[in-house]
Amino acid sequence: MKSNGFFRARKLAGHAAFQIIAIGVGLVLMFPIFYAFSVSFMRPTQVLTIPPSFFPDQPTLENYRTVLEISPLFRYMVNSLIIAVGASLSRIIVGSMAAFAFAFFKFPGRNLLFMLCLGTIMIPGDVVLVTNYRTVASLGLINTYFGMMVIFLVNAMNIFMLRQNFLTFSLSLKEASYIDGCGNFKFFCRILVPTSVPTMATVFISSFISVWNTYLWPMVVNNRAEMQTVQVGITRLNSADGVVFGPIMAGAVLVMVPTIGIFLIFRKKIVSGIMGGSVKG
């Protein structure tokens, strides 16, 4: 009895310690975002003080007014939204179909194809920048939204995640449905996709955030001022020549809103999505 209580207390202490560490790490991670948020409401004179202040003395919306005045940020957000949503939808469609083939079909060279597919993860994007540019330029896709998102349409990591998820399905389930007259496509659409929503949500959100935050590629293939993305817009606010911390932080906060919104919407789905495929390898 005594030892039981001792173990329980130890377990409780361990649990509490874990919680405290988790909260601590959480606070450290949150701090820059909190500080950016706070600075975005500060007056310029308050930003650079010693000791630094963490809360705005007299909160002002001036920074937001400035940033929207000097940069058409909402227009840029629409551009980024088109690219991020377009690429993310494509990643789900293409990724799930490829994963379906890798998980349920047996054909010669399947493993080799899958390895090749995963191998693309190891190639850094910057290495193929010029080659990609050459291809996209000769396809006449410069200055188009499609050109700006084309290299993001498929992602091997997403295929891998979806395949792992599909592998948790029993093959006999598919065979049973086949006997009942359910073809491959019907099985894919009616059974597989609806039950894989958490994984698909994970793919969507991770893809949305990464494409939304992309800077280099959309800038390289686009030469139209009105088609620029938010990340390029934010870069333009920053400069070695002038101290405009307030407006930059206001811009950064505005740019964060859609990603946080997407995250909040899919938050509950995401955890089960990542855990889903982890058991069967």
Binding site: T45, L48, T49, I50, E69, I70, S71, P72, I82, G86, A87, L89, S90, I93, V94, M97, L129, V130, T131, Y133, R134, A137, I142, N143, T144, Y145, F146, M149, L153, G183, N184, F185, M219, V220, N223, R224, A225, E226, M227, Q228, V232, T235, R236, L237, N238, S239, A240, D241, G242, V243, V244
Partner: protein, 477 residues
């Protein structure tokens, strides 16, 4: 069955792609976001040639204008479009292409995509060697020499120092546009408190060392205020070196610092100039009050964490703004290396490079635009709003210029410094400029931390850079 399935999937994929593609297109509605009022230039009439058939010619201007400069560039472009452009049928579309247009142009050139080049690009001096590799570069001297277009800005109007920055083998490659030099900034109140003569800032590095010692405040072993805070990047190093040499000018590298031909080595080792510099700077390092790391130099200076700093002259208005409530700001020439070396600073900033897109009308339009951007009025506008030194000599005789200097006397300091600088005091065209940057920065930090000796630092910079340059030249011969 399988065939049907693959067909279905293929069409679904195509549909998905098309849906993703939706909303694309390339309508080119111009946006003009001029926050500040740009100068009116109604009287200025350059070329008489109108656009053929009365149609508007649209040209692209790629720039790296960020922050306050972005607002100014937008305002100047909007002003051009509504004045000269409207009269002559030219529309300029300004597009921000990241912090360095050169990088993007290099990508295009490597892919052989010259069709998507802009008509005009804003190029830093470090980017000039890259521009020389572009098949379709249209050097400014070619425009002047061909005489195809009338010129409202003569080449002689552009100050020689600025021309030299963008000159290669005697040919002017890009039109100087936003120019600056390095300046010495110091805290006058702190100088007075330390018993120094605040009106006579240090004129040599030896005096700079004395000032650094006097201005450093310590709390036990910890330094609470550094006398001097400056990270020695390539830009700083070449400025310190600029006046150490025969005839009061140091080319840093052979072939006139890469302007009379490809630079193949640093000359600062063999002519002893780097060692002369290090011998003087050793006095500063020995004070212990010299911080060689740039955490946030300008802001730390403004809040009193350091008392002296070197910054570009384009920072002047920002510095005034930052320090106006805390202390009296002093601005001076860069201290000379020693009594026997020359005063002066090298030119920094950017130029406007033109590209031949195979259409003479567009070239004419681009030339009109370039001339507008370097007109006395536009250059005055950049001086007032961004602290860039006017490249057009005619600006300095404008009454508006006189009025501005009266209002802000500190703005005259970089101009006077430029006037006494040898026109050949320039950053070298050293191709691998980032290598020199890293060698100088890391080397000085290690020196201050006592990790390397003066001699090691010297050899690391000279031998290290020359080895890299040799490799580069061998690979790209």
């Amino acid at each position: 069955m399988k065939k049907a399935l693959s067909l279905l999937m293929a069409s679904a994929l195509l549909l998905g792609l098309l849906a993703a593609c939706g909303g694309g297109g390339s309508s080119a509605a111009p946006e003009s976001t001029g926050g500040t009022e740009a100068p009116a230039q109604g009287e200025e009439q350059g070329s008489e040639t109108p656009a053929p058939g009365g149609e508007t010619v649209t040209i692209e201007f790629w720039n790296s204008a960020e922050g306050a400069m972005a607002t100014s560039v937008d305002a100047l472009v909007a002003e051009f479009n509504s004045s000269v452009g409207a009269d002559k049928g030219i529309h300029v579309e300004a597009i921000f292409q990241g912090s360095d247009v050169t990088e993007k142009l290099n990508t295009l050139a490597q892919a052989g995509d010259y069709a998507n080049f802009p008509d005009v690009g804003q190029i830093y001096s470090a980017g000039i060697p890259d521009m020389l590799q572009m098949d379709n570069l249209l050097p400014i001297d070619d425009v002047y020499d061909s005489g195809k277009f009338e010129s409202s800005v003569e080449k002689g109007d552009i100050i020689e120092n600025f021309q030299r920055t963008y000159t290669f083998e005697g040919r002017l490659i890009g039109m100087p546009f936003n120019a600056s030099t390095m300046l010495f900034y110091y805290n006058k109140d702190a100088a007075r408190e330390a018993g120094l003569d605040a009106e006579t800032p240090p004129s040599t590095i030896a005096e700079l060392a004395e000032w650094t010692e006097a201005l450093t405040i310590r709390d036990g072993d910890a330094v609470t205020r550094y006398g001097l805070n400056i990270q020695v990047d390539r830009y700083e190093l070449v400025n310190y070196l600029a006046g150490i040499g025969a005839d009061g000018v140091n080319y840093i590298g052979d072939n006139g610092g890469g302007r009379d031909g490809m630079m193949t080595k640093l000359t600062i080792g063999e002519d002893g100039s780097l060692m002369k510099l290090l011998n003087e700077w050793e006095k500063v390092v020995n004070t212990g009050g010299f911080k060689a790391v740039n955490d946030n130099e300008r802001e730390e200076f403004a809040v009193g964490m350091s008392a002296m700093n070197y910054q570009s002259s384009s920072q002047l208005s920002t510095m005034i703004e930052l320090t106006k409530d805390s202390f009296e700001l002093g601005v001076a020439f860069l201290p000379r290396n020693s009594e026997e070396d020359a005063w002066g600073a090298s030119v920094g900033g950017g130029s406007l490079c033109m590209f031949d897109l195979g259409d003479e009308t567009r070239q004419w339009a681009a030339w009109e635009f370039v001339q507008f951007m370097v007109s006395p009025e536009s250059q005055l506008f950049l001086l007032k709003n961004n602290g860039y030194l006017p490249v057009n000599d005619n600006t300095y005789s404008m009454p508006e210029y006189e009025a501005f200097i009266e209002e802000q006397p500190l703005a005259a300091v970089p101009v006077e410094q430029l006037r006494i600088s040898h026109p050949h005091m320039q950053e070298p065209l050293d191709i691998l400029n980032w290598e020199l940057n890293a060698l100088a920065r890391d080397g000085f930090i290690d020196w201050v931390d006592g990790k390397v000796t003066k001699e090691q630092l010297h050899d690391n910079i000279v031998d290290g850079f020359n080895a890299k340059l040799e490799e580069y030249l061998r690979a790209n011969a």
